[in-house]
């Protein structure tokens, strides 16, 4: 289990999202409020797009297996960057000898030459038994780039493979459809292998101009006997968003200002502030899309029935 964050909108200092609020993403690595019995200590990663940077279509990436709260480089960078799009992630792995804490397993995943990145909050139970059945659904050139051991990277490869051009920048609708198709493939492969236990798939994919996020679980509510993740998985994995003009601090409180049409949006596993009254909960079994357009941001939520 992990925590994810996506931002799209007006240029915003990264530190406002990672460090400054009382339930910031980095704080969620060691003190998540909406996860039971689990911490996210297996590394940090972020991908950011800044239109004023050199080659703005190429995002800036930073990933480290160290704890982000003690990462001084991250503190310095977060104070200097003010992107218009950010995807960030703190990774959690089960407390066993099976989890692999390694740079190659850190999110967001981004294969060089592609224009889409992915971060995932969730886990596909019994993934090892279905891994190789996914190969036939993944573009060979994409499959060759898989370096890590996580199911998240396979989901990423699967989504890229559903695009007309895995190396081009897809339109928002195409990216949303590719994500839903990837979930359908996962459902059919799970069925073929007789896998019918709860497997959350809160996915966030982005091109820097658009974000697609899902709040979804396969077979929610069913668990193997003696499951070590049970207490964490019993509630539907959370996802929230805040949308409006810009995210800033007023009278000591961080909040999204009013904006019509909206110009900025944050999507996060948990609200970035303990006061969640200005945040909206993404409905279970749904997909959210947001895209930067001239004059603001287009946004849509729809039921996800795959």
């Amino acid at each position: 289990m992990c925590r994810i964050l996506a931002y799209l909108g007006e240029p915003l200092p990264v530190r406002n999202l990672l460090f400054d609020t009382d339930n910031s993403l980095v704080r969620q690595s060691y003190s998540p409020r909406m996860m039971n019995t689990f911490l996210n200590l297996a590394g940090f990663g972020m991908t950011a797009w800044d239109p004023t940077s050199l080659r703005p279509e190429d995002p800036f990436t930073y990933r480290a297996t160290s704890l982000p709260s003690f990462d001084r480089n991250l503190h310095f960078l977060a104070s200097k960057l003010a992107p218009t799009c950010l995807v960030a992630h703190v990774r959690g792995v089960t407390y066993s000898g099976e989890g692999v804490v390694a740079d190659t397993n850190l999110h967001p995943f981004h294969f060089i030459g592609t224009r889409v990145v992915l971060a995932h909050n969730g886990h596909l139970r019994q993934f090892p038994s279905m891994r190789y059945s996914l190969v036939e659904h993944v573009e060979p050139g994409i499959a060759q780039r898989i370096e890590g051991t996580t199911e998240s990277e396979w989901i990423y490869a699967l989504i890229l493979s559903q695009l007309d051009d895995p190396y081009g920048e897809p339109a928002t609708r195409e990216l949303a459809d590719a994500t839903a198709n990837a979930l359908r493939i996962l459902r059919s492969v799970r069925a073929a292998h007789g896998i019918d236990t709860s497997s959350p798939a809160n996915i966030c994919v982005s091109t820097g101009r658009a974000v697609v996020a899902t709040r979804f679980s396969f077979d929610y509510g069913w668990y193997p006997p003696d499951d070590e993740m049970l207490e964490t998985d019993l509630p539907f994995v959370s996802l929230w968003y805040a949308i409006g003009g810009e995210y800033n601090q007023r009278d000591g409180d961080w909040r999204m200002t009013a904006g019509d049409p909206p110009r900025s949006m944050i999507i996060a596993s948990e609200p970035l502030t303990t006061d969640s009254s200005t945040w909206l909960e993404v409905p279970e079994y749904s997909m959210l899309t947001a895209e930067l357009v001239p004059g603001g941001l287009e946004f849509e939520t729809r039921d996800l029935d795959v």
Binding site: N36, D219, Y220, G221, W222, Y223, P225, D226, L230, E231, L234, P235, F236, A242, I243, G244, R255, M256, T257, A258, G259, D260, D275, S276, S277, T278, W279, L280, E281, V282, P283, E284, Y285, S286, T301, R302, D303
Partner: protein
């Protein structure tokens, strides 16, 4: 306001109906009488709850903070009404803000004194728990009514076979592993024997996804508790619908009309295949009105469910209607 007047006032409050005069006198003794000014903020949404308030006179506006710096008034409370009990019961922040719109008087009951009323297995505590269940059901219906109005249109007319009680022909199955059930947050901190007596009071069934288990606007015939899987609570109006709650493991549905005798305020439809514990009306009534350790567990489970469902219906996403 003399102690006598306070006792007389408390006796008129539905939440405290049926309480012995001696209990009301004790309550009056620990309550603090407070004058409130026009415009005074009693609490803001999200604030920690410290007390429950009984409005003696004056008026209070109840409002919901919305994203984009908007505030929406969702109701007004006047003499005899109770405020702040939800946050006090579930230990989370206040669900809404409360501001005085007409100067008056309130009686404040501190968290510890309120909690003391509910502990133990004496008749007073059982009566109060049942009254709280009725009050929370009423609040839930009020909130669901607001959501239904926002959807517009008429309540969906379900086919006759869907509107009929759908629980009888579900496949029965053995009870779940007790260790699994005890790991659910819903059942933490209950006496194991009393909990097991509750969990063996009904029958266990399996249900396929998509099955309508309770139809909106018809009386429910049973209390259902999700053991595995998930059941959606939805309002349907024409081609629009709102999911107002998701009953995953440890969450219940179908009991509102068993509490207040009115039709079910929402439909319950299996979203995932599910394993359910079904308590028919007679079993529900026995557990609801008995006053023993098993009933205490049952009333606590219902209270937790009502509180969680109320919070679900208040979350802004519930207003996001999706086409069916």
């Amino acid at each position: 306001m003399s102690d006598r007047e306070t006792v007389d006032f408390l006796a008129t409050i539905p939440l405290l109906e049926d309480q012995e005069e001696a209990d009301l006198a004790e309550l009056a003794r620990v309550m603090r009488r407070r004058t409130v000014r026009d415009g005074e903020i009693l609490w803001r949404q999200g604030d920690d709850a410290r007390e429950v308030l009984f409005v003696v006179d004056g008026a209070v506006s109840i409002s919901l903070q919305q994203p984009g710096d908007r505030t929406v008034e969702v109701g007004r409370a006047g003499p005899g009404e109770v405020l702040g009990e939800i946050a006090l019961l579930d230990g989370q922040g206040h669900t809404m803000s409360a501001r005085v719109t007409e100067a008056g008087t309130v009686l404040a009951l501190a968290r510890s004194d309120f909690a003391a009323l509910l502990v133990g297995q004496h008749p007073t505590a059982f009566r109060l728990r049942r009254r709280l269940a009725s009050l929370l059901t009423s609040r839930l219906r009020h909130q669901l009514g607001h959501l239904a109005v926002s959807l517009g249109g008429e309540s969906a007319r379900l086919p006759a076979e869907d509107a009929a009680p759908a629980l009888v022909d579900l496949e029965q199955c053995p009870p779940p592993d007790s260790e699994y059930v005890r790991r659910m947050a819903t059942f933490h901190d209950f006496d194991p024997l009393a909990l097991w007596s509750f969990l063996t009071s009904g029958k266990y069934v399996r249900c396929p996804p998509g099955r309508t288990l309770v139809a909106e606007g018809t009386p429910s015939t049973a209390y259902s508790l999700t053991i595995n899987g998930a059941v959606e609570k939805v309002l349907v109006r024409g081609d629009r619908r709102i999911r107002v709650g998701l009953a995953g493991p440890g969450m219940a549905f179908g009991y509102e009309s068993l509490i207040d005798g009115r039709p079910s305020p929402v439909a319950a439809i299996a979203r995932e295949r599910a394993m359910l514990l079904i308590l028919p009306r007679d079993v529900f009534d026995r557990l609801f009105y008995n006053e023993d350790a098993v009933s205490r567990v049952f009333l606590e489970v219902i209270q937790r469910d009502l509180l969680a469902t109320l919070r679900q219906t208040l979350r802004p996403c519930a207003r996001l209607a999706a086409s069916v």
